[in-house]
């Protein structure tokens, strides 16, 4: 946003603007402009590459077929197994993410005088910055290394859930706080207990914002491959068994990137395009919802 500069055209004022200051201003503008262009170059390059490589390699087979056997180098096959895997693990993650995330969000917003609130808020904030691979490591060590479960969709889903929790906590808290106090008071004045007021009046009023937070959390974990490397391991075959290793879209991209087969690399690009497209769509939805609310 730019304010209009006071004009320095009239005679009396130009004298006060020394050449040194004018030069400084000009150089600053030029430098900022150049740096911005430098920033935009790789950004455009990446966008272009994803679009061109992705669209060029999209076909129906990508979505409904699973990989052919390793010996079959004829090309073709798809990432259906990875799409299903991603969906399954995100769903598993959401169970944990929603329960703890929305629950803690309600705690921070509705019980704000409780002495644990600052601590929970601090930890939720700090947990958002924990690298995804560390989360995967924890789930591996706690569950897989200790032989409680194997490399599986369940383990992967748990890791994704852990990553989602802090995101959902913060967005839920924020959105609940936007519901005016008088709504709560009106509910309580009707002789309804607090839990009914919170769950049946306040939470529905914040519905749109909470859903937005969930969408954002999903789009964040949907692209994570690092934690799944250590928990779900990935799978070259179509599988619906959550107790065994499972494929995922970002994992497929990672693996295919190192593949010697041309057609797999193209599938990697296509899968990347799908991932980015989904993330883009969810951010549009989120922005639309926020605008509607305001």
């Amino acid at each position: 946003m730019t304010s209009s500069l006071p004009t320095t055209q009239s005679k009396g004022l130009t004298r006060t603007l020394s050449p040194k200051r004018r030069l400084e201003n000009l150089s600053a503008t030029v430098i900022i402009g150049i740096l911005t262009v430098i920033v935009l170059l790789p950004l455009f390059a990446i966008t272009y590459e994803i679009l061109s490589q992705g669209i060029g390699n999209i076909n129906l087979g990508l979505f409904i077929e699973s990989p052919k056997s390793v010996i079959d180098t004829s090309g073709g096959g798809g990432v259906a197994h990875a799409i299903v895997g991603s969906i399954m693990m995100i769903a598993i993650g959401l169970v944990i993410g929603l329960l703890v995330g929305v629950g803690a969000g309600i705690f921070l917003a509705e019980f704000s005088e409780h002495k644990l609130v600052p601590l929970v808020r601090l930890f939720a904030d700090v947990l958002t910055g924990i690298p995804a691979i560390v989360v995967g490591l924890v789930v591996f060590q706690a569950l897989i290394n200790s032989r409680i479960i194997e490399y599986s969709a369940v383990a992967g889903g748990i890791a994704l859930g852990f990553i989602m929790i802090p995101i959902i906590v913060r967005s839920t808290e924020e959105v609940l706080k936007l519901v005016p106090v008088s709504i709560r008071e009106a509910g309580l004045a009707l002789g309804l207990p607090r839990w009914l007021v919170t769950m049946q009046i306040v939470l529905p009023a914040a519905r749109a914002g909470i859903v937005t937070g969930i969408i954002l959390a999903i789009s964040r974990v949907g692209g994570e491959a690092a934690p799944l490397l250590l928990t779900a391991l990935g799978n070259n075959f179509f599988s619906l068994d959550p107790t065994k290793a499972m494929a995922a879209l970002p994992l497929a991209v990672y693996k295919y990137a190192f593949s010697p087969f041309e057609h797999l690399i193209r599938q990697a690009w296509a899968a990347s395009f799908v991932l980015v497209l989904l993330i883009f769509i969810s951010s549009l939805i989120a922005r639309y919802v926020i605008r509607e609310r305001n």
């Binding site: 730019t2 004022l13 929970v120 910055g129 290394n145 692209g223 690092a226 990672y254 951010s283």
Partner: protein
Amino acid sequence: MTPSITKPRSRSLSSRSDQTFQAVILGLASMVLLIAGLYAAVLLLGGIPAFAKEGLGFFFGTNWDPVSEEYQAFPFIVGTFVTALGALVIATPLAIASALFVVEYAPKWLAQPVANLVELLAAIPSVVYGLWGLFVMLPIMRSFQTWFVLTFPSLGWAPTGIGLFSAMVLLAIMVIPFISAISRDVIRLVPNDQREAAYALGATKWEVIRYGIFPYARAGILGGVILGLGRAVGETLAVTMVIGNANRIAPNLFAPTATMSSVIASNFNEALGAMVPALIAIGFVLFVFTMIINYVARIIILRLTPQGIRL
């Protein structure tokens, strides 16, 4: 026994049910604390065999040798910090410049699309950046490095493309949108009367930015940069794909090396024996570092942001 205020209704509609509700909510909220504790405990306990075996050598030794089963993590600690700091050195001025451009210089029809593009790029997954890095950036980098090495042959660097410098550049590209978005928000929040007061004194645009905006935005931008550092330190797959995964400290800027996160990602699935606790121990170090960085960022933003700005 005091007379009841009203005829008896179901238990779930009384204040008693509220106590149950509060207990459930408190339980769920405590899970947040428990999970954080779980991270620390699991990583520490899992890594103890490695710490015990090497002692301080784990942190400062440079020998990572599967054959002799000696695992020392110094190269990776160095790798993480050099790549992250290098990336930030490149990214910060670029990010701040683009944020300034969007808020202060660009006309409205340009500002919004550019801002949206930057935001979208902040959301692109790490693997996709890695894919791009591998197939698009590396060939360009190889050409550049070849030219560089031919121009300065006395340095003795090898133009492999893959290595520390590529990781730094890719990481910088990934972190710029993040820092830019935060800086943009911070700069936008500077109250307009600050700008107008400066303009009214006859300041040039640059002077308004320097004296009217920066003092207000400084803390928030610094916080954003530190959060970007945290992000860069934790970045895994994109880095893994272009850094070369050589388990030693890079002898020069173009050489392959590894970071804490890349060594975990690339070795984990085949790790056996003593390597597993070593990798977990590295994970613990990574965990502690990112916790500290995020905590510091939070404090900076909270304590140093002047009145009138709420991030």
